[in-house]
């Protein structure tokens, strides 16, 4: 032991914040990691401690109910609309404060609306994770049934078919037996606009109306014109791939086919055929619609693009990939036998990788080798066994601009956050340090959500992740507020909710804490005035001691030039100010430190850092 060590207390042991959550071991994890913690951000290079962004309330739904779906349509003309499913209402939301109900007839409470975009006709196809509502489409102004060209096969003869304005009136020769809002299919008309599937309004036992294009010729001609009950198709998942609309985990009428995939005609998303399997001998062009079953006949859970392929998992089964080029040879083949996805929305494409929540409660990373076709899986949740065990059915969302992957789960009381940029750093590649963080909140919703989506901000070009809670609030996970989560909120979100940040080191045994007094300093950059609690949990003594350390606020400084000469008195590049504020440094330069000394002696200790409040701060490191 040198005298120098005694004089310079900074020559001891350094605690950094350069890595994430590692729940595996209290003794052997890296000192940059935290054995428990939440609400901190990670950086691929830096080692500082910053709090996560605030959860800003973007809007409230008028009925302040539980939000179960958030989808967004960005059309080819760059206009955007948003749909929000909330209780029994489907809202057209302008992204700011205006909500307009566009609820279709068969919409029901609890529908987890998700979407896939059909660019050729500029609309969203809406599916439902709960399989409670039929397929819909949203074109930016109206929500209507998505046609599938599937009918029950018992057509009735039409007596007359006329139209006034945009409403067609159909009269049958015999009682039609339909009810208002039933989905029917017209066929045989010489005027193609009549040949469609539509929801009807019943006038009497032989007459009903339905919407039609206003310029359609009337009356309709054709021999015969028939009407049939359309098949109600529900799907958990939809995906546009290879010029087709692919639907997975299907319900046709009242019959569930969780292992089924329906593929539309090539470039015709409204034409399906649930009677012909891929490779049917009648197929000639290869553009035909068809169906496929999951090879292991297990329910399909999750679908995603992986590079240029379509991948899906089966419940407790395995991963499969779509192979083939057209309807004559499309097939599902085994992709990764190891384990299947095991949640409704726990699979996510993160650009160069595919993550999925698998059976046995782990999150796997599916990475391809240079010779694609040979894939390997890696347990990306290796560091956080306790947290993933707490999850049951996560919703995985990739925040592309922030390069973060969020795993929402109602059993988690928080959000697990995987930092993708961290995974490209030497800390991850060479050091295998944890890329995980966790967001928690003091709001009552605890991040519980049934709807989260990457969307574009209204009126902006920035993408972010919105999520909705059970009280009708829509949050921006990358908020910029200064009052904490839901700052200034109402409707059950009143008051501010501090963002408590916590990190807990591994057991520190390197210090001679039996003989030496625990002295240390905390380096930080001034921001807001806020207290830091350092709690030392001493081994052997089983005692906890907390040092409350006040961080000081930024000293006032002037942004403006003084004396009219910017070159002489205000160096904008260096952000150094002369004369008017006596060279007080800017925010970023106001680095300082503050000391602490903790009572206690033992063979080792764990240091927990806890910051409660809503202020901004940057803590660089703690050295002991």
């Amino acid at each position: 032991m040198s005298v120098k060590r005694e004089i310079r207390s900074d020559a001891g042991f350094e605690i950094g914040f350069g890595a994430g959550l590692n729940e595996r071991d209290a003794y052997n994890i890296d000192i940059q990691e935290t054995q428990a913690g939440y609400n901190f951000l990670l950086d691929p290079v830096g080692t500082v401690l910053n709090r996560r962004p605030t959860q800003d309330i973007v809007a409230y739904t008028p009925n302040t109910g539980e939000i179960t779906g958030i989808v967004q349509l960005i059309k080819t003309d760059n206009t955007q609309t948003q749909l929000v499913a909330c209780e029994t209402v489907l809202y057209d939301w302008n992204g700011i404060t205006n909500f307009t109900a566009v609820t279709p007839a068969k919409f029901v409470k609890g529908a987890k609306i998700r979407s896939t975009y059909w660019p050729l006709d500029d609309y969203l196809v809406l599916t439902d994770i709960e399989l409670s509502v039929p397929l819909y489409k949203w074109d930016g102004t109206a929500c209507s049934r998505h046609q599938t060209a599937l009918s029950i096969g018992s057509p009735a003869t039409v007596s007359t078919l006329t139209k006034i304005a945009a409403v067609a009136t159909l009269v049958t020769t015999a009682a039609h037996g339909f009810s208002t809002d039933d989905f029917i299919e017209i066929a045989g008309a010489d005027q193609e606009n009549y040949n469609k599937q539509a929801e009807i309004t019943v006038i009497n036992s032989t007459t009903f109306t339905f919407p039609v294009e206003s310029d359609t010729v009337t009356p309709a001609t054709g021999t015969p014109i028939t009407v049939d009950a359309a098949v109600t198709v529900k799907a958990k998942y939809g995906q546009i791939h290879n010029g087709r609309l692919w639907l997975f985990n299907i319900k046709v009428g009242d019959n569930a086919f969780p292992h089924m995939c329906l593929a539309s005609d090539f470039e015709d998303p409204e034409n399906f055929d649930n009677s012909k399997r891929s490779g049917d001998v009648t197929f000639s062009s290869g553009n035909e619609a068809f169906f496929l079953y999951s090879p292991d006949l297990k329910p399909i859970t999750n679908i995603s693009k992986f590079h240029s392929d379509l991948v899906f998992g089966t419940d407790g089964g395995q991963l499969f990939v779509l192979t083939g080029t057209d309807a004559t040879n499309y097939a599902f083949t085994s992709f990764y036998v190891g384990s299947g996805a095991n949640s409704d929305e726990g699979m996510v494409n993160i650009g160069n990788d595919l993550l999925y929540f698998r059976a046995g409660k782990a999150i796997e990373s599916l990475t391809s080798t240079d010779q694609y076709g040979d894939v390997a899986a890696d347990d990306i949740s290796w560091w956080i066994p306790d947290s993933v065990q707490a999850m049951d059915n996560p919703i995985a969302i990739y925040d592309r601009p922030k390069q973060r992957v969020y795993f929402f789960d109602e059993s988690l009381n928080g959000v697990l956050v995987l930092d993708k940029t961290f995974m490209s750093s030497a800390k991850y590649i060479e050091g295998r340090l944890s890329p995980w963080s966790k967001y928690e909140t003091t709001m009552e919703n605890r991040f519980d959500t049934k709807a989260a989506a990457l969307v574009r901000d209204a009126g902006e070009e920035d993408y972010t992740v919105y999520w909705g809670d059970a009280d009708g609030a829509i949050f921006n996970i990358n908020g910029t507020g200064i009052e904490g989560d839901a700052g200034g909120g109402v409707n059950g979100h009143s008051g501010t909710h501090p963002i408590n940040v916590m990190r807990k080191t591994r057991v520190i045994m390197e210090l001679n804490t039996n003989d030496e007094v625990m002295l240390g300093r905390l380096e930080y950059t001034r921001g807001d005035s806020i207290n830091v609690d350092l709690t030392f949990s001493w081994l052997d003594e089983l005692n906890e001691v907390t040092c409350t350390i006040p961080l000081k606020e930024t000293l006032a400084y002037s942004e403006g030039a003084y004396w009219g000469d910017t070159e002489l008195y205000w160096n904008d590049t260096a952000d150094v100010h002369y004369w008017s504020d006596f060279q007080i440094a800017s925010d970023a330069e106001q680095r300082s430190n503050v000391g602490f000394s903790a009572v206690g002696k033992s063979s080792g200790c764990v240091v927990k850092i806890m910051i409660a409040g809503v202020g901004d701060y940057t803590i660089s490191r703690i050295y002991i």
Binding site: M1, E6, N512, D515, C547, P550, L551, V594, S597, V599
Partner: protein, 238 residues
């Protein structure tokens, strides 16, 4: 003069504990520097105890009036010991003015008195002696025992200068004395907060023979003298 809290802060500054954005501690219960505060307090109290033991603090010397109407009377709560080897109690009136008479300690104390007068508990009259009474409270006994009258005595004693709460005064008259004391206490503080290994390097001869402490303590004693110390020793021949 400084308070106990100011002295603790002085030690923390001197030893580099308070630096950067650290504010001086406002209370001994502040948790930020809890361990350092605890040791600084110990250093100050220990050094004060040493100085008291050396009988060098003028700040200790004080007097009080003792009201006597029974066999015993409690001394002041901060009483440490009498100033004089042959202490006396100067009789005063109720206003504290001297009555030009005094009583002295019974030769041999209570034990001798007990053998000389078996009735010393009951013998009444105006006291002519006092004797030391042990026990949990420092008190004097009086012989004979006052009966129906109250007597007042001024006594000169050394008060307890130990500090315990933030506002207690460190027993030095001048600022420079306090500063020198802080220097000694800071050295002791450094010793207390050092590991055994570091102590070997910084305090090779231990705390009792530490040059810094002893030299500074000598300087403090010089400062507290009311006149300069003799510069020569022994017989002087002309």
């Amino acid at each position: 003069m400084s308070t106990y809290l100011e002295a603790v802060n002085a030690l923390l500054v001197a030893e580099g504990i308070l630096a950067g954005d650290d504010d001086e501690v406002a209370s001994f219960s502040a948790t930020q520097h809890a361990a350092s505060i605890r040791l600084a307090k110990r250093a100050i109290v220990q050094e004060l105890a040493h100085l008291v033991g050396l009988n060098t603090l003028p700040y200790e010397k004080t007097s009080a009036i003792l009201t006597v109407s029974a066999r015993t009377a409690n001394l002041a709560s901060d009483f440490s010991r009498m100033q004089d080897p042959q202490p006396l109690l100067l009789e005063t009136n109720v206003g504290g003015t001297s009555q030009s008479t005094a009583i002295t300690e019974y030769p041999g104390g209570e034990e001798a008195l007990r053998h000389r007068d078996y009735d010393y508990y009951e013998s009444t009259g105006k006291p002519i002696h006092f004797y030391w009474i042990g026990g949990t409270t420092k008190a004097l006994g009086f012989y004979p025992v006052p009966s129906g009258a109250t007597y007042y005595y001024r006594y000169y004693y050394e008060k307890d200068v130990t500090v315990s709460v933030e506002a207690d005064t460190i027993p030095f008259v001048s600022t420079v004395e306090s500063e020198v004391f802080n220097e000694i206490a800071a050295r002791r503080f450094k010793y207390l907060r050092s590991s055994p290994t570091i102590r070997e390097g910084l305090f090779p001869r231990g705390l009792a023979k530490d040059d810094v402490i002893n030299e500074t303590r000598a300087a403090l004693v010089q400062l507290m003298r009311y006149k300069p110390a003799a510069e020569t020793y022994g017989r002087r021949f002309r």
